[in-house]
């Protein structure tokens, strides 16, 4: 029978197969992070590279170690731990001691990811939780912003007044001091966490990911648009708010994590708007100058509920239907 109808192939789903796999997607994310890393090394010097390598190595090591202790298959080859490490490094100030970065890697990989069952089972983005834990646990080293001569004049002159720690643009803005120009903000000639400073480099990476269809533009666009609109509502400069702090890094690389963001486009837009709203609420009303990571973590936790609300109708039970 099969010989007579050779053009009729009977097979079970899935019928459409893509060559993309976890490792190839993660490799694309790593490539997309390179411009931001380059700017970071240009602005902060070689220690930015050293801290990034340190985070990647520790994340991969903890992934390998925890899988080994739990007697599970080795997953370091899918590069997800390397991506987590690099994104976590991008969230740290450049002078952070290496052992503190290692604690962040431990929290991210072991506590958030592997204890919940590994990639695909984590309830929140590992790098976000690693960053927040360090941010709350090591408050002063995590706010020890380095000033280098390549930065904006506004930051350098503010640092002369307060020589101990340089205030970030958002902190300058909150204190009512002169802030760097929008062009300096966009290019990243400012202080802050290693990878978040250059909006231009992050956007370049984001465009690469969208072109390669690794991420859908729904979350970044709705996130950034919400921040821009709310800036106008609060009477702030939208360009400054978009380029300052971790908005670009968060919107492009952290909020788009497959595991912890909604599946449907509607869900993703709700997710992005939620991230933007909480970011701006924290920036404007809370005691912390920056709220991107908290906003994304909160929306990560809401993701299952968003998914349930925005599920496609085909998966709904029939009207008056029987079971679940």
């Amino acid at each position: 029978m099969a010989e007579r109808h050779t053009n009729l192939i009977v097979a079970s789903a899935p019928h459409v197969v893509s060559p993309a796999n976890t490792a190839s997607i993660m490799r694309d994310v790593l490539i997309a992070l390179i411009p931001a890393l380059a700017v970071s090394v240009y602005v902060f010097g070689i220690r930015a590279l050293m801290l990034s390598v340190c985070c990647v190595v520790f994340c991969v090591f903890f992934e390998w170690l925890s899988r080994r202790i739990m007697k599970r298959s080795n997953t370091i080859g899918d590069l997800s731990a390397a991506v987590t490490g690099l994104i976590l490094a991008f969230n740290l100030p450049v002078r952070l001691p290496f052992w503190m970065a290692a604690v962040g890697c431990l929290i991210a990989i072991v506590v958030v990811k592997q204890l919940f069952g590994g990639l695909g089972q984590n309830f929140a983005n590992p790098a976000i939780v690693g960053r927040i834990t360090l941010f709350i646990g090591f408050a002063s080293p995590m706010a020890n912003w380095t000033i280098t001569s390549r930065m904006s004049q506004a930051i350098l002159s503010a640092a002369e007044v307060d020589a101990t720690t340089g205030a970030t643009p958002l902190a300058l803005s909150a204190a009512g001091l002169p802030v760097p120009t929008n062009m300096e903000m966009f290019l990243g000639l400012i202080n802050g966490s290693m990878g978040e400073i250059s909006a231009a480099a992050l956007l370049l990476g984001g465009i690469y990911l969208i072109v390669r269809k690794v991420i859908s533009p729904a979350i970044p666009v709705s996130f950034l648009a919400t921040v821009a609109v709310l800036s106008l509502v609060f009477g702030l400069d939208p360009i400054f708010q978009l380029c300052a702090g971790g908005v670009m890094l968060g919107a492009i690389f952290m909020a788009t994590d497959y595991v912890t963001s909604p599946i449907t486009t509607t869900g993703r837009i709700i997710f992005g708007i939620g991230c933007g709203v909480f970011t701006m609420l924290i920036r404007v009303y809370a005691s912390y100058p920056e709220g991107v990571s908290f906003a994304i973590l909160l929306m990560n936790i809401l993701t299952p509920h968003i998914d349930r609300l925005t599920r496609h109708k085909t998966f709904k039970p029939a009207e008056g239907g029987a079971s679940k």
Binding site: P97, T133, F138
Partner: protein, 227 residues
């Protein structure tokens, strides 16, 4: 299967540890275990109240009408808590200040109500006393160990004595709520490892030791070992 006196005493320390295996009284444990001295103080307070209330409730078990037993237990427990609190105020005012509202809250502590309901109301006075002491020691050990870990990592001290403070930057999140949950989870995992999961398995299969067992409609079918 009748337990020996020694088994009743040691039951609460690891095998049926009130916090880590029965998962009772989590709130006060997480809240006070920020400093070792608070953990120890709270533990001893609970030990005293639990032992006394177990003895009293066991002695009164034939007099207390079944329908109003919970209010009766509360009255008995509240009297002992008041005594402990007044004693603390008189002799250890600093500890009383540190523990704050958590001392009066022992009145509604699930461990004490749970043991009254699950053990003292069904067993002899001596057995109930031993159960109270064992459970109290289990609670004290847990609260103290948890507090030591959190104090060491979060402030770099143990019982107020400097250990690593000054040399290593303390990881302050450990003395906040997330650190409490983290240490709590690690200790539960450790106890599961030590008992090879037997303690929890037993809990899931039987309703013994569950304070809700008396009101639980799905006793045997579902195990009903929730808090």
């Amino acid at each position: 299967m009748k337990k020996t006196k020694l088994q009743i005493l040691t039951n609460g320390i690891i095998r049926e540890n009130p916090v880590l295996v029965l998962v009772l009284g989590t709130c006060p444990t997480l809240a006070i275990s920020t400093q070792a001295i608070n953990g120890l103080g709270m533990g001893v307070s609970v030990l005293v109240v639990l032992t006394c209330s177990n003895i009293m409730i066991s002695a009164l078990k034939r007099i207390i009408p079944d329908t109003v037993r919970i209010p009766c237990y509360i009255v008995v427990i509240a009297s002992f808590v008041t005594m402990v609190q007044l004693a603390l105020k008189a002799y250890l005012p600093s500890l009383d200040k540190a523990l704050g509202v958590y001392i009066p809250l022992i009145v509604v502590n699930c461990i004490i109500l749970g043991r009254a309901e699950a053990f003292a109301s069904k067993n002899s006075v001596i057995d109930s006393m031993l159960d109270g002491i064992g459970m109290g020691i289990g609670y004290t050990l847990t609260a103290t160990v948890m507090a030591c870990i959190r104090e060491l990592l979060g402030s770099g001290t143990i019982f107020g004595h400097t250990v690593t403070a000054g040399t290593i930057t303390p990881f302050t999140i450990m003395v906040m709520a997330p650190g409490g949950f983290f240490v709590f989870g690690c200790l539960i995992a450790l106890v599961n490892k030590l008992t090879k999961g037997k303690a929890r398995e037993k809990q899931q299969n039987k309703c013994l030791g569950c304070p809700g067992a008396a009101f639980c409609s799905q006793k045997v079918e579902e195990g009903g070992a929730e808090e």
